[in-house]
Amino acid sequence: MTSITETKETENEVFRKRFDIADVGPLIGLILLVIIGSIVAPSFWTKGNIINVLNQVSILGLGALGMTFVIISRYFDLSIAGFLSLSGVLVVGMQETLGTFGSIIFMILIAVIAGMFNGTIMRVVKGDFGASIMITFGTGTIFSAIALLYSKGYTLVPIQDPLFDWFGNGRIFTIPVPIIIFLVSAVIMHILLRYTTFGRSVYLTGANPEAARLSGIPIHRVQTTAFVILAVLVAIGALIRSSQTLGATATAGEGYELDVIAAVAIGGTSLAGGAGNIVRTLVGVLIIGVLNNLFILIGLSNFDQMVAKGVIIIIALLLDKRPDVRSWIRRLRGRG
């Protein structure tokens, strides 16, 4: 009898947890932003603009999806900005010798190697979260230096090619390909994180590495795989970007890491690891996308946007961190 009530209670708990404020808060923020957007800028709520928003966030979103894995597994990756530049430069530069398809395969290979490079260093030095920040700061510098060396500081222009053009500007049933790539990757990553053994071990590794190790999870392999997933997604983002902008420079990635961190953190994934999911990241990505779009519709300059973003991220993080806000809401719902 008691066991039945207990299970009922836990089910109730699970139900409540599923609708915790941490999940709903960012969503409410997103809805508010959309409402503000449609009031402030009449052109916001047009089909063209919505597709535009999604199209613009797809590159950022791909990185954010991968970063979710890395952050949940308790690491961090600052090298993605450098890597976005590097893979963009490589895929364009190699196009002549390898052909479009070959250069894309080559870029993915490089991404796998780069992710393994980060993961292996972290494994060898047995570093923690703080170490991963500085190490990936260093590897990011190496990546962008290689990009600079390879491109000699010039903008590389891709060869016009239907396949290459398709990634940035193609459409399937009037929906741009970047959006489809982003949404399909989001679904795959969601399934991977939620419904597979690998996903579960990512959570466990982040929540308690020692416990995970003792229960037989190869934590280093899990973390390295997270780095590899991130690098591959970033590389695909670089492909989309160089196809859209018809050029690749060694400085293309500057500021990318901030947007990605912002998206993941605003969505509500904790930087402490072990918690978070793809849906939250999606909400975070959309918030950043709508914000960027609103900034442009309002007419803020690039520089204003940098300033505004810095402030907004801090405020979002503070709101997420304030324990009294959470306990207050819990009390409102009568949970004491």
Binding site: I121, V124, V125, K126, G127, D128, G130, A131, I133, M134, I135, F137, G138, T139, G140, T141, I142, S144, A145, I146, L148, L149, G153, G255, E257, L258, I261, A265, L271, S301, N302, F303, D304, Q305, M306, V307, K309, G310, V311, I313, I314, L317, L318, K321
Partner: protein, 314 residues
């Protein structure tokens, strides 16, 4: 065996000596008075920030915003000098720097946010502000006083270098000889223990950021004096350079280990590396590459050593 251990413990000094020897042999121009004075002028602006950032890193925090705070302060001062006396402008700029540090420190200590996220946001914030205020163009700063500080000489020694060594002495004194310095180490070494022994952990978390941002503002002033202009683009690689200096010298990112002396060695290593590569006509892209590799190696080595320690104890 003992000598090997001693050398190993002083590996930063060994690296510096080897690098200097390498530079002397392969770049004959290296050992001229003119070049050496150039080298010291080049390192002094970054070095001053590096000394201040040592406090932050000793405390177990990170500050990625120093570069953009430096750029922003230069612009801010350049705009102020058009309206008021230069001394007042410099004073206000450094005060503003301290205020920036105060805000960052409050966010880190009371907001309970990770310092790297806060300073990363601050980096973009001030970068954007500097670009906006200056319209992405360098602003001319023509002032005899600032020019004297930036380019003047005092008994054949550049004023900048004198300021650099003065900050070194002050920093070293504060860290080694005062209660304040000891507490910075204590908080970085173990926050919990520091709290239990009655140290106001929050105060130290805030004050280290005040020091680093004020120093960044000061460096911005010096740089504007040196270049006779304030540019919004000077901060780009500063965070990387400064943190590399501190870490390569041997201050541990985990906090509580290292010091100003180590940072001086780190600053000199980077200075000699930059200078000798430039003398040998190596492209600056390679310098970035080498810097990145060095950073990964040193940080990695530090954590690797750290991970081995508890095993020895067990």
């Amino acid at each position: 065996m003992n000598y090997v251990q001693m050398l190993y413990r002083q590996k930063a000094v060994v690296i510096l000596v080897l690098l200097t020897l390498y530079a002397i042999i392969f770049a004959p121009y290296f050992l001229t008075g003119h070049n050496l004075s150039n080298l010291f002028i080049q390192v002094s602006v970054y070095g001053i920030i590096a000394f201040a950032v040592t406090f932050v890193i000793l405390n177990g925090q990170l500050d990625l915003s120093v570069g953009s705070v430096m750029a922003f302060s230069g612009i801010f001062m350049a705009l102020l000098t058009e309206h008021m006396h230069v001394f007042l402008a410099v004073l206000f700029t450094i005060l503003l720097g301290a205020l920036i540090g105060l805000v960052i420190g409050l966010l880190v200590s009371y907001g309970n946010l990770h310092s790297f996220v806060v300073t990363l946001c601050a980096m973009f914030f001030f970068n954007g502000l500097a670009l906006k205020l200056s319209d992405a163009r360098p602003i001319n700063v023509q002032d005899p006083f600032l020019n004297m500080v930036g380019n003047g000489k005092f008994f054949q020694i550049p004023v900048l270098v004198i300021i650099f060594f003065m900050t070194f002495v002050v920093g070293e004194y504060v860290l080694r000889k005062t209660k304040f310095g000891r507490n910075v180490y204590a908080v970085g070494g173990d926050e919990q223990v520091a709290r239990f022994s009655g140290i106001s952990v929050r105060f130290y978390k805030i004050i280290v950021f005040v020091i680093s941002s004020a120093a960044a503002a000061f460096a911005g002033v010096l740089l504007a004096g040196m270049l006779n202009a304030a540019s919004p683009f000077v901060g780009g690689a500063a965070a990387l350079k400064v943190i590399s200096c501190v870490v390569i010298g041997g201050t541990s990112l985990a906090g509580g280990e290292g010091g100003i002396r180590q940072t001086l060695i780190g600053v000199l290593i980077l200075g000699v590396l930059d200078n000798s590569l430039a003398l040998m006509n190596v492209h600056s892209f390679y310098q970035t590459f080498i810097l990145g590799c060095l950073l990964v190696l040193v940080v990695g080595w530090d954590y690797y050593e750290r991970s081995k320690k508890p095993e020895l104890a067990a």
